[in-house]
Amino acid sequence: MAVDPLVAASVRTTVPLLLAAGGELLSERAGILNIGLEGAVIAGALAATLGVGPWGLAGGYAAALCAGAAVGLLMALFVVVVRADQILTGTAATLLAFGVTGAVYRGVYGATGVALTLPTSAPFRIPVLAAIPGVGSALFDQPAVFYLAYLLIPILWWFLYRTQVGLALRAVGESPAAAGAAGIAAGPLRAAAVTVGSALGGLAGGVLVLAQAGTFAEGMSAGRGFIAIAIVVLGRWTPLGIMIGALVFGVATAMQYVVQAMGWPIRYELVLMLPYLLTLLALMFSPRGVAPAMLARSDV
C-alpha cells in the first residue's frame, strides 16, 4: 500500500478538526468550555453553502467565519453576560444550530434537499515542498485554507505565550480575581475568546463544504465540534498538544477507510474508537492544574 492515500486522507480529516480544536483551545484557556462549537461547525457549513453562490469562495469562507462567530456571540451573551451554566448553554446552542440550519436548508433548497454541487477550492501547489516523496502532495498540494490551518498552531502558541493579551487570556482562565487586580476586564476577554473560537469552528464547517464535500448535508458536522473538545483534552490545553491530538483523531479516521479498503479482519469502528479511549486515558493521567482552573465555571 502506498503511503500517499493514507496521508492524504489523514490530512483531509485533520484540517477541520485542527481549526475547530484551535478555536476550542482559545475558548477553554479563557475558562469557557464551548459545547456550542459543534453548532458553530454546522452553522459555518451552511453559511459557506449559502455564501459561496453570491460572493464566491472567499465570501463563502467569510460567511462561515461569521456564522461561527454568531454562535460564539450567543454563547458569550449567556455565559459571560447572563452567567448561565456553560454546559447547558453550549448544549442548547448546538441543538439550536442544528434546528436552524436544517430549517434554513430546507427552506432554501426545498423539503427533500436538492443535491447541491458547489464550487470547491482548487489546490494551491507549493513548489519544492509538494515534491517531497510520499507526503509532499498530500500536505502541500491542497487548498490555501489548509495552509492557514497549519499556521494556526504556531500563531496560537505565539498569541498565548508571547503577547500580553494571550497572557491576560490565560490569567482569566486561571484566576479572574488576579486578572482583575492587574486591571484586566475578564468579561470582554472571555466573550472575545469564545467568539473568535467559535468563528474558527465555523471556518472548519466552511472547509467541510468548500474544500472537501462540495455540498451540504444536514448534520454534516458529524460530531467534529465535540471531537475538537476531546482533542483539547488529549492535547492538554497546549497548541502543540492539540496538533498531536488532531493528528491522532485524523489518522484514526483515515485508518477506517484503509481498514475497509484493505479488507483487514478488524472492525473499523474499533479503530475509530481508539482516540476516544486515549482521551479518557489522558483525563485519567492528567496531573492537577493542567486544565484551566476556571474551566466551565460561570461564577466569574
Binding site: 508571547r162 500580553q164 490569567a171 480575581a177 487586580a181 492587574a182 486591571g183
Partner: protein, 481 residues
C-alpha cells in the same frame, strides 16, 4: 530611589446600601513614612484602602497626591499614580510563573526573558529573594507575599498598601517583612500597614490612625501612643484585650490519655514527607498547642489527627470521638449558600443513614446558636450571611455539640476581631475544662501561648514538645532550639 508620594485623603465617606462603611475620614500619608491603619474588623480599613487603590468609589471626599487633587477610578489609575497594594488574599495566578504574574496587565508583546530580567532586577534592588521562574502555586506563602510586593514595585509603586500582611506569616518571617518595610520607607517609599495587631503597629510605624465604626478615632505620630491608649481607642471596653492574651495557668492535666501517636508518618498532597516518626500522647482536659512555621508539616499533622488525612506509617490511637475545626472555614467547614441547620447536619453526615428529622435538627441548631452566641435571625439563614466571628462560633459550637473526646482546631481566630477572638478562646478553655483534649494550631504564636498548657513544635517534619515560653518555642520553630 524615587521619592514616594505624600497623599492626603480628606472627608472620605462611603455607604453600601444602608450601611455606612466610612464616614468623613481623613488620612495623611507622608513620603518616607510607615503609616499603620488600625481597627477592628468592620472598622472601615478595607473600604478606605479600597478608595485609595481604586477598588471602591467614595460617595464624598477628595484625594490629593503631592498637593494635586486626583481621581482614582480603578486599580489601573492607582498603579499609574504609583500606588501598589498587597491584598490579604493574594491576587496571583497560581499556575503562572513569577515573571508571568509580574508581567500580567501589560500591553503588546510578552517577552519572557525581559520579564524574568525585570523581576530579577526589581527583587534584587529591593532586597527581596524571589525566583522569577518558579511557579507561584509551588511557593510557600511568605514567598508568594514577596512576589506580590515585587509585582507592585515592578509596576512602579512608591506607595505600598499592605492588608494584614503578617496574618499569614510565622514570627521570624513577619519580623523580616516589617524590617523590609522600614527599609523601603527609609529609601523614600510610602507605606500603609493595615493591621489589627497593636504591638506590630507601634513597633514599625511612624504614624498611626485608628478607625472605629467607620470613623477616625485617633491619628498622629506613633510616639504619641502606647499599647493601652491604642487599645482603648480601638476597643472602648478594653477588657476584651486582656482576656484574649491572658496566659492560662498551666493546670496539670490529670485526665486519661485520649490520643496516642507512635512512630506516626504523614505525607502531603504530592506524596512528599510532611511528618516523620512522631510519638506523643494527649490527655483528656488539656489544651496542647501545635506550633510551626508555614510548610513545616503541622497542617498535615492536624489533618491526620482529625482523621481527614491517612497516616502512611505508625500507630494513631484515638478511641473516642474527634471533632475538627479546619483553618479555612469557608472552604472546609461550611457550605456558605446553605442554611445554618443544613450546615449543622454536616457533622456526622457521612455516618448517618436513613431519613433526617429536620425539625429536630433545626431545634438543635437553634440551641447551639443560643449557647454559642451566634448572631443570626434563624437557623434558616445561610452560613454566608454571617460575619466571620459568628461563622467561627457556629462551627465551633457544631463540633463541640458532638461532645468530642478530642477537638482539633486550626487557626481558630484568623481574621476575627479581638472580642470575637476572646469569645472563641473562652469556648476552647471551657471545652477542655469539660474533659475534651484540645489540640490547637495558630499562625499567631501568642495565641498558642495564651491557650496551651503544653506545646508541640513541628519543624521540618519532626514533632517535639517544648516548654511553653515564647523564646524557646520561637527558636524551636525555626529549628534553632
Amino acid at each position: 530611589m524615587r521619592q514616594g508620594p505624600a497623599v492626603s485623603l480628606t472627608g472620605i465617606s462611603k455607604r453600601f446600601g444602608p450601611v455606612v462603611a466610612i464616614q468623613d475620614v481623613d488620612l495623611e500619608l507622608g513620603a518616607g513614612r510607615v503609616h499603620a491603619l488600625l481597627g477592628e474588623n468592620g472598622a472601615g480599613k478595607s473600604t478606605l484602602m479600597g478608595v485609595l487603590f481604586g477598588l471602591v468609589r467614595p460617595d464624598r471626599g477628595t484625594i490629593r497626591l503631592d498637593g494635586a487633587e486626583i481621581a482614582i477610578r480603578s486599580p489601573r489609575d492607582a498603579v499609574r499614580l504609583g500606588v501598589g497594594m498587597v491584598q490579604q488574599h493574594f491576587a496571583n495566578v497560581g499556575a503562572f510563573t513569577v515573571a508571568e504574574n509580574v508581567a500580567l496587565g501589560g500591553q503588546g508583546r510578552y517577552r519572557p526573558r525581559v520579564a524574568t530580567e525585570q523581576v530579577r532586577i526589581t527583587a534584587q534592588s529591593a532586597g527581596l529573594a524571589v525566583d522569577p521562574n518558579a511557579r507561584v502555586a509551588d511557593l510557600p506563602v511568605e514567598a508568594q507575599q514577596r512576589v506580590e510586593i515585587v509585582r507592585a514595585l515592578a509596576r512602579g509603586a512608591r506607595l505600598l498598601i499592605l492588608d494584614e500582611p503578617t496574618a499569614v506569616l510565622a514570627p521570624a518571617e513577619a519580623a523580616a517583612l516589617l524590617a523590609w518595610l522600614r527599609q523601603f520607607a527609609r529609601e523614600g517609599g510610602t507605606v500603609v500597614l493595615v493591621t489589627h495587631k497593636v504591638a506590630e503597629a507601634l513597633a514599625v510605624a511612624d504614624d498611626v490612625t485608628v478607625l472605629r465604626g467607620g470613623r477616625r478615632i485617633a491619628s498622629g505620630p506613633a510616639t504619641g501612643f502606647t499599647l493601652s491608649t491604642l487599645a482603648a481607642a480601638m476597643f472602648p471596653k478594653s477588657d476584651g484585650t486582656d482576656d484574649a492574651t491572658r496566659a492560662t495557668p498551666p493546670a496539670p492535666a490529670t485526665g486519661e490519655p485520649v490520643l496516642r501517636a507512635h512512630g506516626l508518618a504523614v505525607r502531603g498532597d504530592r506524596g512528599e514527607r510532611r511528618i516523620v516518626d512522631a510519638t506523643f500522647s494527649v490527655r483528656a482536659g488539656e489544651i496542647v498547642g501545635i506550633a510551626g512555621v508555614e510548610g513545616s508539616g503541622h497542617h498535615e499533622l492536624l489533618q491526620a489527627l482529625a482523621g481527614v488525612r491517612q497516616p502512611t506509617e505508625g500507630i494513631l490511637e484515638i478511641p473516642g470521638r474527634v471533632s475538627f475545626v479546619p483553618g479555612d472555614r469557608h472552604r472546609d467547614a461550611l457550605i456558605l449558600d446553605a442554611p445554618l441547620y443544613e450546615n449543622f447536619a454536616l457533622h456526622g453526615a457521612g455516618a448517618r443513614t436513613g431519613l433526617i428529622g429536620w425539625p429536630a435538627m433545626r431545634g438543635r441548631t437553634q440551641a447551639v446558636m443560643a449557647a454559642f452566641d451566634v448572631k443570626a435571625r434563624s437557623p434558616r439563614d445561610t452560613a454566608g450571611s454571617l460575619s466571620g466571628g459568628n461563622q467561627q462560633r457556629f462551627v465551633l459550637g457544631r463540633e463541640l455539640d458532638a461532645r468530642p473526646d478530642v477537638l482539633v482546631v486550626e487557626n481558630p481566630t484568623r481574621g476575627l476581631d479581638l472580642q470575637a477572638t476572646a469569645s472563641i478562646h473562652r469556648r476552647l478553655r471551657e471545652a477542655a475544662a469539660e474533659g475534651a483534649a484540645v489540640l490547637v494550631h495558630s499562625a499567631d504564636l501568642d495565641e498558642i501561648l495564651a491557650l496551651a498548657q503544653r506545646i508541640f513544635v513541628v519543624h521540618a517534619g519532626i514533632v517535639r514538645e517544648v516548654p511553653p515560653d515564647r523564646d524557646g518555642v520561637g527558636r524551636a520553630m525555626v529549628g534553632a532550639g
